[in-house]
């Protein structure tokens, strides 16, 4: 019997607000432990929470961006459990009445586009951080409550994902939307995006759900994929041996790439949720929602469609260019300065992205500016720089910045268009490769490319390709 995985993700993201969810403490990373705290987030006796308006606006923005329903009434609820990093002994979250329900995220895997429906999006607060056995003594635990109260969105997908690849694509698509709309930086390394995976198996084609397990707290795309693969494998093994899946919380061991049971859920956890009596139900009137909607930036899908129409790009190019908002904005800025969208799209889609990949960097982390790239492309257009030299300049512009024209001069990268010099180079190449010349003359046209390459190499890539081709053709025919 073959099995089909049924996967749903619960994603927690830190919202990009200046202050915490229920108090005025600053939200930023790397502060001295327990210095971004106040009576409210320390849960001192008598302190009371007040919801952060900015966080509410961001939650609504996220809801609108995924096409969810924004509820005019939602309720903050207490999730009660004891843990030292949870100062109040409960987390303020939303339960029966979340701010957003529904919506979906479009993913593409192996050329197939699917919309993954969302169950809900709600607001909550993060816990603090435990620091175990560092510095002083191994048997001590310390609490850093700087993070306690940081605004979170929990985004819950329907169990509609069918593979690790789909889960990964979903996470990336979700992260891209959240970054586009500036709701979160969603940096997994900083713990701004964390993911829990719910996974069960069922016989392929069946519509009955199997017993699910939950793999908690995955903090990189690679781990999410690897944990899903591992858990599918584990559950398949159990089922194939006639065993039964036990509902449990699992942990993933990234080194061994295996999942193991952390805690068996005999009964569902009882968090004794109830509406937080310190907070009144959140009322969002149509005007407030409209205000957020009006400020909603263009989303990736809309931008892609516009790029196709407005700039005449292929769907493929448009899709590449909207991958991140900085990249899309960069494309438009260069196009405005340069004039030819197609050329710009080609360069950004191929060379800029390639150079970024080599450097393992994001565009915003380089020194490259739109005016500089535009100027460089104009040098290529006029034939003053060969594409190959331009790629070299592009690298410099990324790493150090500068003016393309001066860089070309300083590095002697002007295209060689001195016919005499090129003719000499062509003659040397033909003399060195008599066999290839024979083959060309015998009708093997593609040998021309090889000979072109040889000439280019001899000139250090600075030869104007058009001129070389012309001279070669003349000599070979002559």
């Amino acid at each position: 019997m073959s099995f089909e995985p049924v996967i749903g993700l619960e994603v927690h993201v830190h919202m990009k607000t200046a202050s915490k969810m229920f108090c005025g403490c600053a939200v930023h990373y790397g502060g001295e432990p327990n210095h971004q705290v106040c009576p409210v987030c320390l849960a001192l006796p008598g302190a009371l929470p007040v919801p952060n308006r900015e966080a509410i606006a961001l939650a609504v923005r996220a809801g609108l961006a995924v096409g969810g329903e924004v509820h005019s009434r939602s309720v903050f609820a207490r999730k009660n459990y004891f843990y030292p990093d949870l100062p109040k002994g409960y987390q303020i979250s939303q339960f029966e009445e979340p701010v957003i329900t529904g919506g979906g995220v479009e993913i593409e895997v192996d050329g197939e586009v699917r919309r993954i429906p969302l169950t809900r999006i709600h607001m909550e607060e993060d816990a603090g951080k435990s620091v175990h056995g560092e510095e002083e003594r191994e048997d001590e635990s310390h609490m850093d409550l700087n993070r306690a109260g940081t605004p979170l969105l929990e985004i819950v997908s329907e169990p509609e994902l069918r593979s690790a690849a789909e889960a990964s694509a979903y996470l990336r698509a979700l992260r891209r939307i959240l970054r586009y709309i500036d709701v979160s930086d969603a940096d997994m390394e900083k713990g701004q995006l964390r993911c829990d995976v719910n996974l069960s198996l069922r016989p392929t084609g069946s519509d009955v759900l199997g017993t699910r397990t939950e793999v908690k707290n995955l903090n990189s795309f690679r781990y999410v994929e690897a944990a899903i693969e591992a858990e599918i494998q584990r559950q398949t093994g159990v089922l194939e041996e006639g065993g039964e899946i036990i509902q449990a919380t699992m942990q993933f061991d990234p080194e061994r790439r295996t999942t193991s049971v952390m805690r068996v859920k005999e009964n569902a956890d009882d968090y004794r949720y109830f509406p937080d009596p310190d907070l009144v139900p959140l009322a969002l009137d149509a005007a407030r929602i409209a205000e957020v909607r009006a400020a909603l930036p263009e989303l990736p899908a809309e931008k892609r469609a516009r790029f196709e129409v407005e700039h005449g790009l292929s769907e493929y190019d448009a899709r590449l260019l909207v991958a991140t908002r900085p990249l899309a904005d960069f494309f438009e800025a260069v196009t405005r300065a340069h004039g030819d969208a197609k050329t710009v799209a080609n360069w950004i889609g191929r060379d800029v992205r390639g150079a970024l990949k080599e450097r393992e960097r994001d565009l915003e982390e380089t020194a490259l500016t739109a005016p500089a790239l535009s100027a460089l492309l104009k040098l290529v257009d006029s034939g003053r720089v060969t594409p190959r030299s331009a790629r070299e300049v592009l690298g410099v512009l990324m790493d150090e910045g500068g003016d393309p024209e001066s860089l070309v001069g300083e590095r002697g990268l002007e295209a060689v268009s001195d016919t005499g010099a090129l003719e000499a180079a062509v003659d040397e190449v033909l003399a060195a490769h008599p066999d290839d010349v024979e083959r060309f003359r015998a009708g093997e046209a593609k040998v021309l490319n090889f000979l072109m390459g040889q000439v280019m190499r001899r000139t250090g890539g600075k030869a104007s390709p058009g001129l070389v081709r012309e001279i070669l053709a003349r000599r070979l025919e002559g």
């Binding site: 302190a47 409960y90 004794r272 009596p277 907070l279």
Partner: protein, 486 residues
């Protein structure tokens, strides 16, 4: 022993005429607090209060008195936070903890020039009706030291009744201001829910808790209420309206005002007949003054105590989770693992009544019981609120006994929690409905005070104060002094 302090109006006159200074008042209050053997105070801050009194005297000398409360000594129930002071809530678990911040009500009192002299005894975390559930031992009723002062704000009621301070703050969740006011023969008021900020009030049951004043006269209570009321952005449940001006309500004129008498509260088996008689006499006095009376009905009253103990304990079980020994207060020593630390810290730190309520509240919110108890209680709460809305269509205020009896003897109910809970029968409905209510002295039975409770429409503190003040103009119960404080 120093003499009892007069009321705010009297002290204010003496301060204005330089017959007394704020420094002298603070000294007198502290001396008296120490001299009386009533266990009303858990902490005196004499030194700090004297320094503040000096500043206050200087302000007055410059003609910069901040309000009618300038230089007036007041006391705080030990669950209302003041910066730099303990707020132990009569619990072992908050041993040694000092608040780094002022409750909004305290900040406002101090901004008005009032001087906090100390903190008063209470039932642990405001859970109780006798001030016996205190790590400091019970407070005593100045009318009979063998009797309870009521609770949970017993210490504040005693401090005012015994003339230590002319006014004090308490907190009321199910009657914790009004019942001790009744037992000690003083005025105590629970404002409309949201009228006074809860920021800095150590939570018992968030949807019910309100800070309110104790004083010997309605006039003094009104001054304190005006100082502490009004919207506070630090409390999301605070009513977004400025503090009401209430002094104008104290005209003594109640002609045409309709007083509702709910038949469920006057049932012959519901209260001590002599208490009922005293309340009826007081209502008759108000009729003499021009008020009208009519019978009304609050049909869901029999469910109020049960509803109250479900809602209040559910919220308390969650509100008290923060006392875990991790960040502040008391942590059990030599603990094993984390769970052991929680268990022992909380077992050692909380008293029996607090534990009972945490257990009850945890049960009420548990999966499988939530609908039957918590949700059902919320539904009944809505019905109770509607009862009042309907009753107030036919009357302006509702008059009842504050408590079904006068002060009971210390120890008499300690072993019978259910009977203790039932002493709240007349006071729990107002907080469940969120409406204002007060208790004003209306007589004595066997030498112990009786309280008249007045309940009003939400935000209509003015009518309650008008009626209670009119009654005090026509009675002298509030001028009698308890023997222990003579």
């Amino acid at each position: 022993m120093s003499d009892p302090l007069g009321g705010v109006a009297e002290l204010r006159g003496a301060l204005d005429d330089r017959r007394v200074s704020a420094v002298e008042l603070v000294r007198a209050a502290c001396a008296r607090a120490r001299a009386l053997d009533l266990n009303a105070f858990t902490h005196l801050r004499e030194e700090a209060a004297l320094a503040e009194a000096e500043d206050s005297d200087a302000r007055r000398a410059r003609g910069e008195a901040r309000s009618p409360l300038e230089g007036i000594p007041v006391a705080l129930k030990d669950n209302v936070c003041q910066a730099g002071e303990p707020a132990q809530c009569a619990s072992r678990i908050l041993e040694g903890w000092k608040s780094p911040y002022d409750a909004t009500a305290v900040a406002r009192l101090r901004a008005a020039g009032a001087i906090v002299v100390g903190r008063t005894n209470m039932d642990e975390f405001a859970m109780g009706s006798s001030t016996e559930n205190s790590v400091h031992g019970p407070a005593r009723n100045p009318w009979d030291p063998e009797c309870a002062p009521g609770g949970s704000s017993g210490g504040s009621a005693v401090a005012v009744a015994a003339g230590v301070v002319p006014a004090a703050l308490g907190s009321d969740t199910g009657g914790s201001i009004r019942q001790p006011a009744s037992f000690c023969g003083v005025v105590g008021m629970k404002p409309t829910y949201g009228r006074v900020s809860r920021y800095g009030l150590v939570a018992f049951a968030s949807s019910l808790d309100q800070i309110g004043p104790f004083a010997r006269t309605v006039e003094d209570a009104t001054l304190v209420l005006e100082a502490i009321a009004g919207h506070d952005p630090c409390d999301a449940t605070s009513i977004p309206e400025p503090a009401p001006a209430l002094a104008g309500a104290l005209s003594g004129d109640v002609s045409g005002l309709v007083i509702g008498l709910p038949r469920e509260y006057f049932a012959s088996d519901g209260a001590d007949p002599e208490v009922l008689a005293a309340v009826r006499t007081a209502v008759a006095e108000l009729e003499q003054a021009g008020a009208k009376t009519r019978e009304v009905s609050l049909p869901h009253t029999p469910y109020a105590v049960a509803t109250y103990y479900l809602v209040a304990t559910a919220e308390a079980s969650s509100n008290l989770a923060r006392y875990d020994g991790v960040r502040y207060g008391r942590r059990a020593e030599r603990v094993g693992d984390l769970l052991d630390m929680y268990r022992r810290t909380r077992s050692e730190g909380f008293g029996a009544e607090v534990k009972r309520r945490i257990l009850l509240g945890t049960y009420v919110l548990s999966a499988g019981y939530y609908d039957a108890y918590y949700r059902k209680a919320q539904q009944v709460r809505t019905l109770l609120r509607r009862d009042f809305e309907e009753a107030f269509a036919a009357c302006d205020v509702i008059a009842t006994p504050t408590a079904p009896e006068t002060a009971f003897r210390l120890g008499e109910r300690a072993a019978d929690p259910l009977r203790m809970y039932l002493s709240d029968v007349f006071t729990v409905s107002a907080p469940l409905a969120g409406i204002p209510a007060l208790s004003v002295p209306c007589g004595f039975v066997d030498g112990l005070p009786v309280g008249l409770q007045l309940m009003g429409r939400a935000l209509d503190e003015a009518s309650l104060l008008r009626v209670a003040d009119a009654y005090q103009r026509r009675s002298d119960w509030h001028e009698r002094r308890p023997p222990e404080a003579a």
